[in-house]
């Protein structure tokens, strides 16, 4: 990891785990339903599918969130924001503030519960037209937004 890069707020890890757990539960529920109704017909013993799904679910809720959380890192400089992310495909993006068209702060229901927000920087580009940085404390995200806004205004003059 490059120097001076910051991690996301610890609450974001909890959020990722909760989100993972919700997905895992849904996944296991569907698997159990299929287990009870369909899987027996192809000759699989009852419990195999549910067990497999549960194992995958545990990975989804416990192991993956940690990896994903650690993959994120960011650094706010005077003139640009730098964001690293991605578990498999690593990405390290630099957005100069002079190129930002507008800024959003997004807050989903889980994020609101944990006092978090995502900062979204929109540029005129195509591939990274919206650059997302999740897991920021709301006050932090708002400070960043104000800073970027000030820089855009300066750039226009």
């Amino acid at each position: 990891m490059a120097n001076g890069m910051r991690q996301l707020h610890p609450n974001h890890l909890t959020l990722l785990r909760v989100r993972g757990a919700i997905f895992a539960l849904a996944f296991v529920a569907v698997a159990a339903l299929l287990d009870a109704t369909l899987v027996g017909e192809i000759g699989l013993r009852f419990g195999v599918a549910t067990g497999g799904a549960a194992a995958l679910g545990v990975a989804l809720a416990l192991w993956l969130p940690g990896r994903r959380y650690r993959a994120w890192a960011w650094r706010m400089d005077e003139d640009e924001l730098r964001i690293a992310s991605g578990v498999l495909v690593r990405s390290d993006t630099i957005v100069p503030f002079g190129r930002v068209q507008h800024i959003d702060i997004l807050r989903g229901p889980l994020q609101r519960h944990y006092g978090l927000g995502s900062l979204v920087l929109h540029t005129a580009g195509t591939r990274s037209a919206a650059i997302l940085l999740p897991g920021l404390e709301v006050a932090e995200a708002e400070r960043m937004r104000d800073h970027v806004r000030a820089r855009i205004r300066e750039d226009l003059v």
Partner: protein, 497 residues
């Protein structure tokens, strides 16, 4: 009557030319006929009379719709802005201030030329959705409007346009033009793959649809000697290739006939077209990336094309504007100089990816080829075709590696690549939107990383990318590009104020 506050702003009191009704109604015929043909094919018992009746109904419907939208469309030209009011039920009033207008593009399709009308596109700095369209008004009105926006006196300009007709402004220096001979010759290189595919599709399915009698084809007879069969196949292939070439020539002729590029105040003015005449200005301020492209045969003969990726690409991502479709490199240079795009430096300064990039490029296709080969033996022999194609792709890896090069110049980043079609992209540093370093698992295994530079109006899939740099070098280059970006931006800002 205007639904919008009377007495406020410019009154929208002008209607589009009535000929618009005819052209808009006729425009649906091909679609309606196509739809009906599909309908006829689906329902075997549909008789011709009913199909024709439905086509007529479609045209009538389109006619009514065209009339309603024409009737409810008004525009007005004020001292400082153009106002467009449209919408049959829900009304919309759009105000486009002259300062926001980048240019007024005038296009004349075949029918419009018969009626002496033109489609006017008012281009603003924003996205395609923010543009204004006047479809259509008389050509004289179109020229007058353009001249008003350019700040000339309305009456004088209208009279001038009336007298001149479509004659071009002699004051603008010509940067590039193509004679008939060159347009026809360039068509040979615009071989239409789609057209050839369509012919093959018809040959394949024509029999089943009853379009072609099986007896037409000597190929069909089983007792024909192999040699004859080969000759017949080659003749068919040759004929199809010839047709594809002819289609390319015709398409190019229709599009590029009378191609002329002149230097306008705000950018490059391009006029072209045989049946559909079009005139557009590519504003220098909206140019993001210059692209010099050449297929391998054209390149061997010294022919190149130049286009510019511009801001405000339309929804289909067609942001590229052709500036010189078929030119010698000596003809491309002055256009680049005129638009402020630098030329690449000496050959030695270009950099290549480390050699292990060949491994990375060949790995996936090779694995795929092996899998396809296994599938060909185990499951279906047809997978063998896929295996051969993937193997070719794997073998092309060294060539692709050789061709992919980059150069960090004084003012711009240059990226070259492509085996069959070779292209060089020129991006002035200040045009970057975001810089990204990316590494897939395979790349990380080989300590490689790619740099992608996002630009405005870039196609979704093929943006500017330097593939497979050494990971440490990629990080350093990203920093350097960022520093160069900030420096150029500072210079631009200083120049503005």
């Amino acid at each position: 009557m205007s639904e919008f506050a009377p007495g406020v702003g410019v009154v929208a009191d002008r209607r589009l030319h009535p000929a618009t009704l005819v052209s808009r109604t006729l425009r649906v015929i091909p679609e309606a006929a196509g739809g009906m043909a599909a309908y006829g094919a689906l329902i075997a018992r549909a008789d011709l009379a009913r199909v024709l009746l439905m086509i007529l109904a479609g045209i009538l419907f389109a006619g009514i719709a065209a009339f309603l939208s024409w009737w409810r469309f008004r525009y007005g030209v004020g001292e400082r802005e153009i106002v467009i009011e449209s919408g049959v039920i829900s009304r919309k009033r759009r105000v486009i201030p002259f300062e926001r207008v980048q240019d007024i593009a005038i296009e004349q399709r075949l029918l419009a030329r018969l009626f002496g009308t033109a489609h006017v596109k008012i281009e603003t700095g924003g996205s395609a959705a923010d543009e204004g369209h006047l479809d259509s008004i008389t050509l004289a009105d179109a020229h007058a409007l353009r001249d008003i926006v350019r700040g000339r006196k309305a009456a004088e300009a209208a009279a001038e346009a009336e007298a001149e007709g479509v004659k071009q402004d002699a004051a603008e220096p010509v940067l590039f033009e193509m004679g008939l001979g060159r347009v026809l010759f360039s068509g040979l290189f615009n071989f239409s793959v789609v057209f050839v595919a369509a012919i093959f599709a018809v040959l394949q399915n024509g029999e089943e649809l009853g379009l072609i009698e099986p007896t037409d084809f000597a190929l069909k007879s089983a007792d024909m000697p192999v040699r004859m069969w080969v000759i017949a196949s080659l003749v068919t292939l040759g004929a199809v290739l010839l047709l594809g070439m002819a289609a390319g020539v015709i398409r190019t002729l229709a599009r590029d006939y009378g191609f002329r590029l002149t230097r306008a105040a705000a950018g490059l003015r391009r006029r072209r077209g045989l049946i559909t005449l079009s005139e557009a200005v590519i504003p220098v301020r909206r140019m993001q990336v210059a692209r010099i492209e050449s297929g391998f045969i054209a390149r061997a003969l010294g022919w190149y094309s130049l286009d510019f990726q511009t801001l405000g690409a339309d929804a289909r991502g067609r942001g590229a504007q052709a500036a010189a479709p078929f030119a010698r490199i000596e003809e491309v240079r002055p256009i680049l100089a005129e638009t402020g795009f630098p030329e690449p430096g000496e050959e030695a300064a270009w950099r290549r990816a480390p050699r292990r990039s060949i491994v990375r490029r060949a790995l996936f296709p090779a694995i795929g080829a092996a899998a396809a080969l296994a599938a060909a033996f185990a499951l279906a022999a047809e997978a063998g075709v896929g295996a051969v194609l993937l193997l070719l792709l794997a073998l092309a890896a060294p060539l692709r590696w050789t061709r992919h090069r980059h150069l960090v110049g004084d003012e711009a980043l240059f990226v070259a690549g492509g085996v069959i079609k070779h292209r060089v992209r020129i991006m002035p540093f200040a045009r970057a939107q975001a810089i990204e370093i990316r590494a897939t698992p395979f790349q990380r295994l080989l300590r490689l990383a790619s740099i992608r530079v996002d630009t405005a109006g870039a196609p979704n899939t093929r943006g500017l990318a330097i593939v497979d740099l050494d990971a440490a070098e990629a990080a350093a280059l990203a920093e350097r590009l960022l520093a160069l970006f900030q420096e150029r931006r500072r210079i631009e800002r200083a120049a503005r104020s």
